[in-house]
């Protein structure tokens, strides 16, 4: 369960379903294990988005059962065994779908929040 973020906390709770999209997006760059995924989301969001591991692993599991990612055990460069997740064709399709939806939603929210920006 994501904790309610305290006022002023720069870390944001993710909108439901957004985590899945983020994971798929990062996996688009190549197979990755869970720890690296968490790190990647944090660093690419300039430390704003922090993924609770208690949310990350169930999410990975969910993506796997839906057939959007597959997983296999491999060695990391540091000779550490880790479970690598790879995007499937189905996952790629899902990502583009979610990306479209996301764009649409951002635009819609933007129209409401900042109507004056769109007027010209």
């Amino acid at each position: 369960m994501p904790k309610r973020s305290a006022p002023g906390d720069p870390r944001l709770d993710l909108l439901q379903g957004t985590l899945d999209m983020l994971i798929l997006r990062i996996l688009q760059w190549g197979p990755q294990h869970g720890y690296a995924l968490a790190q990647a989301i944090r660093s690419h969001s300039s430390e704003v988005l922090r993924i609770e591991t208690g949310t990350l692993y169930p999410a990975l599991q969910r993506l796997e059962t839906r057939g959007w990612v597959t997983a296999e055990w491999r060695q990391t460069e540091a000779k550490q065994r880790a479970r690598y997740y790879r995007l499937t064709a189905k996952g790629r399709k899902q990502l583009s779908h979610e990306r479209a939806r996301w764009t649409e939603m951002v635009a819609a929210i933007g129209r409401i929040m900042n109507p004056d920006l769109l007027k010209d």
Binding site: Y35, P58, A78, Q80, A82
Partner: protein
Amino acid sequence: MTLWQWLVHQRRTDEDVQEEIRSHLTMAARERQAEGDDRDTARLAALKEFGNVMLTEEAARHARRGSLLEYVDGILKDLRYAGRMLARNPGFTLVAVLSLAIGIGANCAVFSFADRLLLRPLTVPRPAEVLTVGFTSPNAARAVGGASYRDYVDLRDRATTFEGLIAFVDPVVGFAAEPDALPRLTIGMLVTANFFQVMGVEPELGRAFRADEDQVPGRDPVVMLSHDVWRRQFGADPTILGRTIRLNGIAFTVIGVTPEGFTGLDQYVRNEFYAPLAMWERLLADSGVRPFDARDFRRLDIRGRLKPGTTLAEARAELTAIASDLERAYPDTNRQQRVVALTEMQARIAGAPPIAPLLVMLALLAAAVLFVACANVAGLLTSRSPVRAREIALRLAIGAGRPRIVRQLITENVLIALLGGVLGLGVGYAGVALFRQVQIPTDLPIVASFDLDRRALLVSLAVALLSAVLFGLAPAIRTTRTDLTAVMRATDAAGVARRRWGRAVLVGGQVAVAVVLLVVATFVYRGFRRQLSAGPGFRTDHLLMMSLSPAQLHYTPGEAKRFFARLADEARRLPAVESAALTRYMPMDGLPPSVTIVPEGYQFPPGKDSVAIPRSLVDEGYFDTIGLPILKGRGFRATDSADAPAVAVVNEMFAQRYWPGQDPIGKRFRVDTARGPWVEIVGVAKASKYGFVFEPPLEFVYLPYRQRPSESMFLLVHALGDPASLATPLRDAVRRLDANMPVSNVRTMEELYRMRSTVVLDVIVKLVAALGAMGLVLSIVGLYGLVAYAARRRTKEIGIRMAIGASQFDVVRMVVRQGFVLAVTGLGVGLLASAGAARGLRAVFPGGAGGDGRADLVTFPLVAMVVLAVTLLAAYVPARRASRVNPTDALRHE
């Protein structure tokens, strides 16, 4: 997410998840170490950052199963929703479920009946490969007759289309577990050594026969016991192998036990033992016959297992070719002998010709009931569809997918069908309880056990699902195809006319089908009543019978003859006995086998030179004792002995057929073969029933027992008082003659007749009548529903009419008229169809449903009147209610 995917992913274990988390922690700790923390601090920090490990594992596990949960949850949601929908409309639910229960139950019951009598496969592996092979000739009475041992060996050795061919006889023998025990009569099979191997049956204990045990006639008295006997009589003794039992007094060594569930190759007989065919001659001591040498001693049954990939046609072609070779090689014995190969089903139908058409008739009637039931539910769904359409349009509008809605509707229909199916099992069980009254009257292990077993349950489920498709598909498609806005905006008026038209056709069809059901039921009922009241043509009261087989004690034919003569004398001497007689076969106990006859001077069609006529062997007291009148000439006399001229008594049909318009007394025929001895007809007996109660009139011949002795006979006594009380004195009489003589099938003729005729007819009549009643009740419900629905639709119109002066009577007439038109149309169509059904019935009951082939003209007006009366009532009730409506309320309606 399909179920399959879920099953595959389920392979990921909890350990795997734990390891993944460990790997995460290790990597986090290493990174901190790299940043300068010491080992323990790094570890602790990583753990702290990670949070609750166990909760994460739990959440991962939940996510893993989540998809299935979602799936199941969807179904559960649909089910809950469907359940709520049904609960909200109790009237609809009740009528729909009860209708289906009747329809499904009727089919379940009829299937149980048909399964026991015809459909159940053999209890061997891959039963469909097993064919019945037999010989037949243009003169033969049976479609597939027995084979001789020599012919069997030729077929076995030459046929290449079969994996193997086996042969057997299934004799009645005296079975004793101990040497000095009184044997009891039972049935077993004498089989060729390859029997178990070809049939694919593995012994549960011990072994099957070796090839050498079936080579030398009479040498190897070894036996396999059936699982049933082993358990019942020997307490499932695991040390039974090597024990000795006695069959007809001969010691046999037990070498094996057959597996549970295998009862032989007959659907009714539960064979109790299996012995090598080579023991045939020694066991049965049939006088003067050499079963292994004579090519025309055709008593063997043959079964073959087709090679995989071989077709029935190929097997038939090969067998025909072999038969032609045999005919050329042995013209004396094999002239015109053809080989036939039938599937198990064909063989069963050929073996009991009246069964198949009877079952087809019952299946059609049951299907008709199911149709009427489904029409009811479809009608109900249609009348609800405007309401549903609005609800569904709403759900579509707020974003539910069309497949989702269709799934919801299907769930509802399947739920209704399954509820109907469950209740239908009750109806089916009532049918099975009814069939259980049918029992085969014999002391032998021959049973027809009716059960609501797994096969019947599966069929009921299939019928339920089929019915869901039948009643649900059209309304479901129509409901989802609706144009959203139109439905949301409109009142019920849109598209109503078209729907009502469809429903009217349904209801008209229901009435028509119900009429056919009723006509058939009435035909059968009246016909059977007539048949039962006409009686079988002989006395059924004050008669007691018992069967005796001295052959089982290895009596010589002379000894057997003397034994029977003395027994009949002893019986006649008993004070309560009016008369006593001996007969080889008992009427109503199945049709006796036929004898080959060539009537003198009769011109046979080309290719045929004789007829096969069922016959009995009786003594001089038989006709008097059983009360069968001799119409012309005389019955048998004690002087019709072996050295006197050969004589016969024939029945009316026989005399009329071969000497029409002439006096049959003094005419002659040859028996046994086309060149057999001449026999002179001395009397004509009145026709009666011989094998079964709804058989057509049969030609029948009686031959004097003294001229054709048999080693197994019935003693039949006519008692002055209660015949059952004679059982003990008669048994005593038998014991005085030979204390070891097995006595079996002691029963009164009343009981035999009841079990073979009254009960069977009664069960069929009840079944058919129940199907007819179901059809009628269901179609009345359908008609009532339609009229009530239509009247409700027209409430506003009725209100207007009444407001401008229509009387209540006018309204009633208007509403009833619609129902009446439907009923009359249905009735007309139904009566036309019934004429066809009546013709079909005559095929089912060749004696005519009425036993005498008379057209039953009362039935049609009777059924017409009943149907008209109840349909009018069904239309009147809602019409009356409609006419009571208050015009002002009606105008405000909707």
